[in-house]
């Protein structure tokens, strides 16, 4: 018998809770970028460097770029930092400080206007705008832009000059390591600009996933786009790895967890069956109690456009999001543009916000009991899932024991491992079903959902218990039979929960007791 015996259905048929997606390496993304650059280069008849600066300026939106470039080519080139604007007849100067001190009279020795160094061997370096500085300052400037600010568009150092350093200039200015970082930033920018792409959130992973089916916000009300970037992380540490054979070692590596994450939201694990909106609601609710969350809550806000978390550590209320450059007011979170023309309403916001906060507080106290019911079960599964590592180590030990005490081979005792994996997977599902149930509106649908949940939970607990039971040489065959049967059953129950929930989303069967983005408003009871 081999592991295939455990598969319920052949892998070819895609289940309702699975989505089509592609995993791409950084090189593959760079190729996509090259294709876009090549495309624009062909149409506009410009060089590759110009084409890529234009594309970056317009967030890789080719259609918009072509349209705008056809209308105002010169304006676009200036805005993208490719060329210098034509000198205007009268330049309105806001600041009185426009003195030509930076450019010392062109004497025989060059003085860098940034570090004021005048060593004779100093090499002046400039973009097309001829604002020269020494190579050391350029290196420090571009390195600080890339490393400290994570900014890929390095504009000329001269005040008010908007020329952007082309890639070749950047490459020449900085050390190879920083240039690699620069390329990484470009890839990230491209991925961030393309709705059908998402960067793998796992630390140090450079893969990207393409999932066009989940690219729009509206689609997230009907699908849960759990994807894997194709890379595998560190395998569960095994206490007995010293005495392992080579095949065991290989098998251990293969069990390294996949980089599984959600394409639609920021959760970096599998949150099926529940959709992103509800999962996020739940996580936010759970985190409201923790210290970190309290700090984040009181010190940060999310950008209204790209949802990046922002800490305001100084300066005024006119905020510019580092990531998407959205300008907004820190007090009312409204777009800044509205503040400039019409007078702003920040002062009024506080009063209303205060009332809302008090309202929700009393409400949450009333429903605390209900919440705790769901939370305890959620936390229990999460805790059990964390203990899965221990269970895994224990199981491995058991597997070794079995090889010694019975005639079973290593391959044949794999049923234990398979069972542990299945339990782990199902606990994940169960955990999120509690988040879902908490927000489901009362009614038949919720009852059916909770029936499925109960069946799965019961099966999982049974299997868990079997795995913990002591092994006697004489009962190994029966244990093996039981575990195998139970594993198949648990797998089936899990599929039922996932599939039924996914179908429900597609059919619009689920109703919530709170407003959720992309769904109808809840009916008042």
């Amino acid at each position: 018998m081999d592991m295939d015996d455990f598969k319920v259905a052949p892998k070819t048929a895609r289940k309702a809770y699975e989505l089509e997606y592609d995993s791409l390496s950084q090189a593959a993304i760079e190729k996509l970028m090259e294709q876009d650059v090549e495309h624009i280069r062909g149409i506009f008849g410009v060089d590759a460097s110009t084409a890529s600066l234009l594309l970056r300026h317009l967030a890789w939106n080719k259609e918009r770029l072509i349209e705008q470039y056809m209308d105002h080519a010169t304006k676009m080139l200036v805005a993208a930092g490719v060329s210098i604007p034509e000198p205007e007849p009268a330049r309105p100067s806001r600041r009185p400080a426009r003195k030509p001190a930076a450019k010392s009279p062109k004497s025989e020795t060059f003085v860098c206007p940034i570090c004021f160094d005048d060593a004779p061997d100093l090499a002046p370096l400039a973009l097309d705008c001829t604002h020269a500085a020494c190579s050391g300052c350029w290196a420090a400037y571009i390195t600080s832009k890339i490393r400290d600010e994570a900014e890929h568009a390095c504009r000329c150092m001269a005040e008010g000059c908007a020329l952007v350093a082309p890639d070749a200039f950047v490459r020449a200015a900085v050390d190879p390591e920083t240039y690699v970082r620069f390329q990484g930033l470009l890839v990230r920018h491209f991925v961030a600009c393309t709705p059908a792409l998402k960067f793998c959130p796992y630390p140090a992973c450079t893969n990207t996933v393409a999932c066009p089916a989940a690219a729009s916000k509206a689609s997230l009300a009907s699908v849960v786009p759990i994807v894997s970037c194709g890379a595998r992380g560190i395998a569960a540490p095994s206490p007995s790895s010293a005495g392992m054979s080579q095949s065991q070692e290989l098998a251990r590596q293969a069990t390294g967890k996949e980089h599984k994450f959600c394409f639609g939201c920021i959760i970096d694990s599998d949150h099926r069956p529940v959709v992103c909106g509800v999962a996020l609601l739940w996580l936010k609710k759970c985190r409201d109690d923790s210290e970190t969350a309290n700090w984040i809550k009181s010190n940060t806000k999310e950008c209204g456009k790209c949802m990046s978390t922002i800490e305001k550590n100084g300066g005024c209320n006119h905020m510019t999001c580092k990531k998407c450059k959205h300008e907004f007011c820190w007090v009312c979170m409204g777009p800044w543009s509205e503040h400039g023309t019409a007078w702003y309403s920040c002062n009024r916001y506080d009063e209303k916000g205060g009332v809302d906060a008090r309202d929700s507080q009393s409400k949450s106290r009333a429903s605390l009991e209900r919440y705790l019911h769901y939370y305890n079960r959620w936390a229990n599964h999460e805790q059990s899932a964390k203990l899965a590592l221990d269970l895994f180590a224990k199981t491995e030990k058991k597997m070794e024991e079995m090889q010694v005490t019975s005639a079973l081979t290593w391959i044949e005792v794999q049923f234990m491992k398979k069972a542990v994996e299945e339990v782990d997977k199902c606990r994940m599902t169960l955990k999120w079903t509690y988040a879902m149930a908490y927000y489901l509106a009362k009614g038949n649908q919720k009852d059916l959902f909770e029936d499925n949940q109960r069946d799965l939970e019961r099966a999982v607990e049974d299997l868990s218990e079997l795995l913990e039971s002591p092994i006697e040489p004489e009962n190994i065959p029966t244990l093996r039979q039981k575990v195998t049967d139970k594993t198949v059953y648990v797998q089936k129950r899990n599929t039922i929960v996932l599939e039924d929930t996914a179908d429900g989303f597609l059919e619009g069967r689920w109703k919530w007791n709170v407003p959720v983005d992309g769904f109808d408003q809840p009916e008042n009871e």
Binding site: A97, H318, G340
Partner: protein, 148 residues
């Protein structure tokens, strides 16, 4: 920790050839920390006031902007209770080609040209928007009371 040549030269020039209405002197024990005074520009409600400020050059200077803060209380829509200043070149419009002198001149210019459309002190900005004359009167009073 040795001081970069840029800071030494800037300091020399600031002392030797100060900008009109502006003084800046480094602390003896920390040459990156400056005591600054700015005269209120003529024709503004801050006329005849002498405003004290502090200026600090961070480690990254000139790649990062200096940190500037008013120490004297001032009634101005772009300067808040703590003396923090809302000025683009101190934030995202910073360029390494700017200097202490240019920064302080810009701060001085901000006193002549308050911008209530980009406020830091909302109540002051509102006052300036709705009743400029009255707001300027308060600015003058504060100048007399705190900055002379």
């Amino acid at each position: 920790m040795s001081l970069p040549k840029r800071i030494i030269k800037e300091t020399e020039r600031l002392v030797a050839d100060p900008a009109p209405g502006i003084t800046a002197a480094p602390h003896d024990d920390n040459l990156r920390y400056f005591d600054v005074t700015i005269q209120g520009p003529d024709g503004s409600p801050f006329q005849q006031g002498i405003f004290k400020l502090e200026l600090f050059l961070p480690e990254e200077y000139p790649m990062a902007p200096p940190k500037v803060r008013f120490l004297t209380k001032i009634y101005h829509p772009n300067i808040d209770k703590l003396g923090r200043i809302c000025l683009d070149i101190l934030k995202d419009k910073w360029s390494p080609a700017l200097q202490i002198r240019t920064v302080l001149l810009s701060v001085q210019a901000l006193l002549s040209a308050p911008n209530p459309d980009d406020p830091l002190a909302p109540d002051v900005a509102k006052h300036y928007k709705e009743d400029e004359q009255g707001a300027q009167r308060v600015s003058r009073e504060w100048t007399q009371q705190y900055a002379s």
